[in-house]
Amino acid sequence: MVLAPLIQGVVNRTKAVAAGRVGQPLLQPYRDLIKLVQKGAVYSRTTTWVFRMGPVVGLAAMICAMALLPFGAFPALAPFAGDLVMVAYLLALARFFTVLAALDTGSSFEAMGASREVTFSALAEPALFLGLAALARQTGTLSLTSMLGSVSTAMWMRAAPALGLTIAALGVVFLAENARIPVDDPTTHLELTMIHEVMVLDHSGPDFAMIQYAAALKMWLLGAVIIAIAVPWHSGNPLLDGGSAIAGMFGLAVVIGIIESSMARLRLLRVTQLLIAAVVLSGLALALVQR
């Protein structure tokens, strides 16, 4: 939970290097958060308590979801059969309130972002669930901890195509849910292309800090699932396993940075197709393991 904002720092640095700039320090996201927490706040006259609930519920849902996530050799705080459903629905809860907070401002910009957010997430959800179902089928378990813990090199030898397809599908979900290129552009917020950034336009001070931190946690959360599949080595040494998982996360951050530097954002209509493609990918993964 402490390392989460660092991932964003790594992504930004990678993008800067790719663009030939020096870029901001790796710890800049932390400085931003500290600065925001110390600031005052401005609220819109139109808004109600729903607007103020948005960031709070968003962050709380992410913290709860983190409690269900295993990392490296460390199991989740409270693993149970079906916790993957809970994680997905906690993300949905956070989104529900972020969207309502955006609508509460009465601004067309923010409502537009909100509308796109619900559209893309509704399509990303089946891809996520089918991907997880493919994983559940291969490992024969229903909890994230045992599921991600039992992905091994032996399983890769046996079912590499299915695992590869699952990673690809989850990768698309990751990009869409975290508002990265090619789905959304996290660097601007006043173009009509924006989704996540435009929804939080009216938040300021500590509220905005909560939103930024929740976004970092969400990235960590979905990233950790992908890394747990992609880095299947278990040495038995918790420190070594934790270290390889963290290295994997930074590797993922670099990959995202490279994707963001080398691609343009897709047209909104194409995003829908991308997400449906992700559903198809996880469907294929399932077909492979279901034989």
Partner: protein, 657 residues
Amino acid sequence: MSALLIALLSFGAGAMGALVFANRGRGATICGAGGVLIGCVCGIIPVLRVALGEPSQSIRMAWDVPYGSLFLELDPLSGFFLIPVFVLCALAAIYGADYLEAYRGRKTLAAPWFFFNLLVASMVVVILARNGVLFLMAWEVMALSSFFLVTFEDEKESTRQAGWVYLVASHIGTAFLLVLFILLGRASGSLDFDRFSASSGAGLLFVLALVGFGTKAAFIPLHVWLPEAHPAAPSHVSAVMSAVMIKTGIYGLIRVMMLLGAPQAWWGWVLCVIGLSSGVIGVLLALAQHDLKRLLAYHSVENIGIIALGLGVGTLGLYAGLPAVAAMGFAGALLHVLNHALFKGLLFLAAGNVVHSAHTREIDHLGGLLRRMPRTGAIFLIGAAAISGLPPLNGFISEFLIYLASFKGAVTLEGANSVPMLATIAGLALIGGLAAACFTKAFGIVFLGEPRTEHAEQAHEVGLAMVLPGAVLAGACILIGLLGASVVSSMPPLISEVTGLSATIVRASLSTAAHSIALVSIIGGALAGIVTLLAIGRAIALSNRSVSTNVTWDCGYAKPSRRMQYTASSFAQPLTDTFDLLLQTRRHVIAPQGFFPKEASLATETPDPCQEYIYRPLFGAIGRDLLLLRPLQQGQVQLYILYIAVTLLLLLLWQLA
């Protein structure tokens, strides 16, 4: 059992009292609402006890109707379905007493209260009846009394049309049930349910039950009456119809499936397909609606779809000999019946408050109501989060059970039967995402932002009697969310009755689910705790800093106007466009023309595709063909007597030959 008979008497007395005191001020209201209230309070205690596992009670009296007998039984399944009936009807009666006051002087209130009591009584009898004749009679009374309630505002053309569609649909459904019971009774020679035995043609009987009960439950494509009837009815009636009356269809289907014995695999497949199509198409049509109550009506179709998915998964589990899948599937479906009753009742009552106060159901004409109606807004928000299946509320618990059952099935089942499980997982995920989209739209556009019209501007909070029932339901939604594990742990007697599995096996199967749900609730509680801590933390942090209010950031634009706000249609447009193949939304566009355009407009409407492409052509063709029979219809009594005489003569000749 005697308490239930007293409850029925109380409904009868309420109905009669409403007629007798029709012209005495509030007399009809007091008798009508009082009859329902007393009856529901009397009935709820025995019902709860039997649903929780006390022995079943029954009563059987002779009845001189051919093949009929007054055979009533209260078993766990009936008890479980009666809980929401009594809770919802009592709350709706309190609400209706205030809601109908607005019509006093213009309309007689005796009729709605008479039919409301009749509706409640008939639903109770439908669920208790164990004889085919008694069941069908109660079923018919239920259809007719709700028809008269739907057509309460019969001065409106649209209401009469809605009532007509409802009446026709109900009777087509009943026709299938009639055949079903005749076939069931023919094998055993009696129409008492306990004499029925699994006969050879179980498949045909299943299909008949599916169509007959599916019409009442509003499975797609049999749902067309629902989005017409629910918005037309007074709000407390919509709440009762949507929350509990359509569930009698689910009840009937489960009851008949129990009578038919061991299920076949294709039943599960059919239920899953129906569930998926009802769920996805229902929520998509809801998304495309502009009318708040119509939107809620389509969500009933969606939730019936979720229930059917649970039943399908459970049936497949039963077929494949996987007790865990069967128990969790049926438990999820049944719990969703209860949960949907709670949050849909709540949402219809809250929508009723909006209509009552803002005098419009048009979502795009509302806005900013949370400031004007804070209590209604708060309970609507809880209902919206619950129906979207968000933790820690009750909707999540039942959907979680269905997810768990289908994940379990997908992991353990081999071969083709795992396909419906996977489809259920993907379908539930899509439905969940779309429902969240739909309810952020409904709540966000109606209650948040600035009022879009005068109507919304002048809205005001309604009286306590119209807020309290919703608040009770909201409390129940939260309670089931936080006590889900104990609810699931109390379900084994019910599930064991429905699935025919032994109570020990069911208990063992549900205990893992109960363990998971206990953790879900703990995390839900933790979530509430963290939310409070963060909010307090923010309040402390902001206490000595500058906190100011200003206009919403509008990119430096100088004159923001409330008309510039996003509308519900634009909010839903990316999704409705993506699924246009299913929705066929029509657009009426007047594009701006010339250098100085004077007018421009855009209107969209999404008529029900089943109505447009199946029923309208079908009934049109039937109507045209029936014109051929018109010459027989001359309006002369002598001619009709001639017809009768000729028919009799022909029958006699046929008998002789």
